[in-house]
Structures are given as C-alpha cells and as structure tokens.
Symmetry: C2
Amino acid sequence: MVKNYLALDIGGTKILGAIISDKKILAKEKIKTTSSQDQEEVYGRIKNVITTLLKKVPNIDGIGIGIPGRVNEEGVITFSPNLPFENFHLKNKLQEDFGVTNIVIDNDVNVGMLGEQWIGAAAGHANVLGIFVGTGIGGAVIINNKLLRGAQSIAGEVGHMKLSFDGPKCNCGEKGCLEAYSSKIAMQRYMEEQGMKFDSILKSSVLKNGIAEQNKTIKDAIKKSANYLGEAIGSLVNCLDPDVVVLGGGVSTAIGEYMLKTIEPVANARALVKPNIKLSVLGDEAGLFGAVKLLLSDNK
Amino acid sequence: MVKNYLALDIGGTKILGAIISDKKILAKEKIKTTSSQDQEEVYGRIKNVITTLLKKVPNIDGIGIGIPGRVNEEGVITFSPNLPFENFHLKNKLQEDFGVTNIVIDNDVNVGMLGEQWIGAAAGHANVLGIFVGTGIGGAVIINNKLLRGAQSIAGEVGHMKLSFDGPKCNCGEKGCLEAYSSKIAMQRYMEEQGMKFDSILKSSVLKNGIAEQNKTIKDAIKKSANYLGEAIGSLVNCLDPDVVVLGGGVSTAIGEYMLKTIEPVANARALVKPNIKLSVLGDEAGLFGAVKLLLSDNK
C-alpha cells in the first residue's frame, strides 16, 4: 500500500510543508514569517503548517523534517543559529502533539541533498558532494548512498574550509573560509566596497537582475564568488572524488548557469581529475523530497 | 584453519615483504635498491622478494600489495610516478608466475591506512582520515570501514587541497597545495632559502637530529610545515568529521610528537569541533598488515 508522508523544510523566515505519496506532492503549504526569537512562537508556526496539511490529507505514516542547524539522534535540535531552538526536543513535542511516532529530523542541507540524490540532480549516484550557496555556505556528503554525519555531527561543513590565510573574516571567527569568499554575504560585501547600498541582506533576485542588466559590479561580485567556489570544489574533489558535485541553494537556483561558466574551468584546473558538476534541479522542493527519503531509508 | 598471506609494500627504492598469519609476521624480507627506469628489472625484484619469502613459508592463500600509484580494479598499475610501471598488469603477471589467484593491489597510502585501522592507531574506528607526510603528501579516507576510492580513483589526494592562492608551486602544476607547504620537499625548500645545503632529498633523520640539536632553521621549517598541516586538518575535519585523523609516513614516524605540538592547537582553532589526531603506530609495517586486511575484507 502506498504511504503518505508529511515533509517540512523549516527556515528562519519561511516554513515549507507538503504531503508526499509515491514521489508525488498531494498537498503543499508555504508560510513566510518574520524571524522570531520566541521558541514557542516558532514551534506554533510549525504546528500550524502541519495542522493545515492534515486537514487536506488526514492519514500520514511519518513526518520528515529539515532544519537549518544540528540535530542529534534523539531528534533534539542542539544548535540552530537562525532559529530560537537550543536543546529543543522537536521530535518529542511533535510526537505528543500529533500522535505520530515515525518522525525524523536532520540538517536542511543534508535533507536537501538526499532529495537531489533520490530524484534530482544526483539521481543514480552513490557518492555525492552537495554545496548549498545562500546567505552562508553549507554542504552535505553522501558516501555509498548514506549521508555522512560525522563523529561530532559536523560532516559537510565545507563552508569552513580555508582557502587563504589572510582572507576575509568569516562568521565562524576564522579567516579565509569558503563562506567568507563565496556566500551572498561575501558578494554583498564586495558590492558595498564598490559603492552599492543595501538596506537588507542581498537577495538572489538582485544577482539575477544584475546579470540581465549587465551590471558590471554585480557580475564581478558573482565571478569572484564563483572563482573561489571553483577552487574549493577542486580541492574537495581531490579529497572525495565524488560521482557528482551538486550545487544547490537559492543563489544556485537563481544564477547557477552563469556561475558554472566560471566554476567549471577553475575546478577542472585545480582537481587532478575532471569533476562532474551539476545544478540542483528540485529547487525549493529538494528539502521536501529529501525529508521523505530520510523516512524511507536507513539514513536516520 | 588459519591462513597465511603474503604482503608486499613496494616503494621506489625499497621493497618490504612479509608472510603474515593471524596478525603475526611469520617471515619478513626487505630489499633496498637504486631506483630503476626498467619495468622488467623492478618486476624481477618483486619476484625475488616473493620467492625468498616462499622458501621460508611455502603455502600462502593470497598476495596483498601496496604500491605508490594508482591501480584499477583489474590490478593494472595505471600511474606510478616513482616506479617505471605504466599500464602494467601486475596482478596478471604474478598470477602467471606464482600460480596464486587471490591477489589484490592498491595504493600504498590506502593500504597503510587500512593497516592502521585494522590493528593500529585507528583500530576500532569506522571513519578515518589518514595523512601521510613524506617526500610528498598522500591521504586515505575510510568511511563505514571501507576505503573511499572515488569515482576516478583519486579520493584521498589531500596533498592537493589548496591552502592559499599565491602559495609555493606544487609538483601537480598548481600553487598553494598542502603538499607544497608541508611535505619534506617544502621543508627542504625553506631550509635552502635559509642557506642550508643538501646533496640529496631531505632525510627524516636530519629533521629528528635537528630537533635534538636545537637547530633553529630546522625547527622553524618543521613548525611552518606543521602549522600548514594543522590548517589543512582543520578544514578536512569540517568536511569529513572523522572519528580519528591518523598522521603517518616517514616524517611522522621520525618527528610526529614534535609536529603534533603545533598541529593540534592550529587544527583545534580551525575546525568547528575538536579533532582527534593520532600518530601512526605501525610504522613500516602498516603497509604489510594493511595488505593482509585488503585480502580479508570486502575492500577489494
């Protein structure tokens, strides 16, 4: 019998939810919110999305969730810089409130890459390196069809590999990290140095429009970012030699094709072999399908 | 019934061989040679070591071999910069000459790290990053107790991750690779810049004596090398988060304890979690035990 699964992709300012059956979305729900420091408020929003979805499809066989942070084996969110959860027993709370026992929660980048590996850009590949470019840079590593979580649950943090000793300062406290060179924050910093003004964090649409309008500053910022990303991919390919490198995240969805023109030749020159680099194809839905795959696989 | 296995660790100027049974060395043979460009001459030396060992223990159940280069699944050496083998069917030749069918051949760093994981510094750990410091820098990655070979057989080439954009030139043609910062070649280059003279490639014993004699130039060269190695380990731990990082190779055997004093604080500062760094404990014998493990496991 075909089963229905509820999938959630929880972000700092949006929650995306769906009920998925046999790789098809039966119902979908998206809420945009202001970011909140109140744990119960954010948990309330999550419950609202679930409740709304359950009204459309009442019978589900499990809940899979991706969140931007670290989750331990008990489903406790131990660290989430963009959400107000700290040592929050999300799994237990949801089990109590909805009576569903089959619940898995993992880092959103891990979950998104699992979706791409299931039915997206990395379908059919057992060994995958995923790099998500957004405000920061996240990553995920799949080896022999299993997510690599690591001894201390940080595997895949490719944003904090060092590209240079005297590079720009990174949010992690170190200098010269990939994230400090290639994230949206890095691109925004370069544009501001060139005199551009922003009243909020750089949006991917600004980058996309900048290319369309041949804005030199924006194009230069993107090319610089892509160049560093190419160097990092080359180094990572030398270490992991994956079947495929998947570029995901908001920036990749908006301007991935343009970035690849710079990334590919740089990564080819750096790596000892020619890497196979693909863009994410599931976009926003990668995290939803990945959450279902998490429930279906032994990747828990 | 306990089985006997013949293990070979083939280098550019030495061949080490042993017959091992139940994790014990029954017979051992080591030949030092001049390096040779003659394929048949080097193959002849390999045969001599095997023949000598078989005179001591005639019945063997398989041959395991580590070589400094790349080997494909058919046991063909496809690339070996320090040996005259190119597309050399080592497995087939040995099967014909000795009538042994059970033969496995792999990269020497992979094999050595498998030995350390079996009964050495990484015993009991399923996820291991090995870094071998010698003339160059090699690496090996073990995930879920299996060697990671990679889509194009280069996984573990951590010597060619980029630490800096304008770093010293590396043998691979790029700039700023770990190998160009932390290998024996890198240390020798620094010492020569400080006025020291060498008539051959730097020996690990020179480094060891330099520490004992408080030679400032030598100590500085080692500290610089160790500092860069610490940075690289930190970045790699962020990506792979292994149970343990094992430092092996001739340099590590000679001066590993001294290097660790610099490596550990640098790697701790760089990595998002505190890495577990150990020195190789099997020394020269890592490759021999690893070759047996290769025969025993599904790591073929």
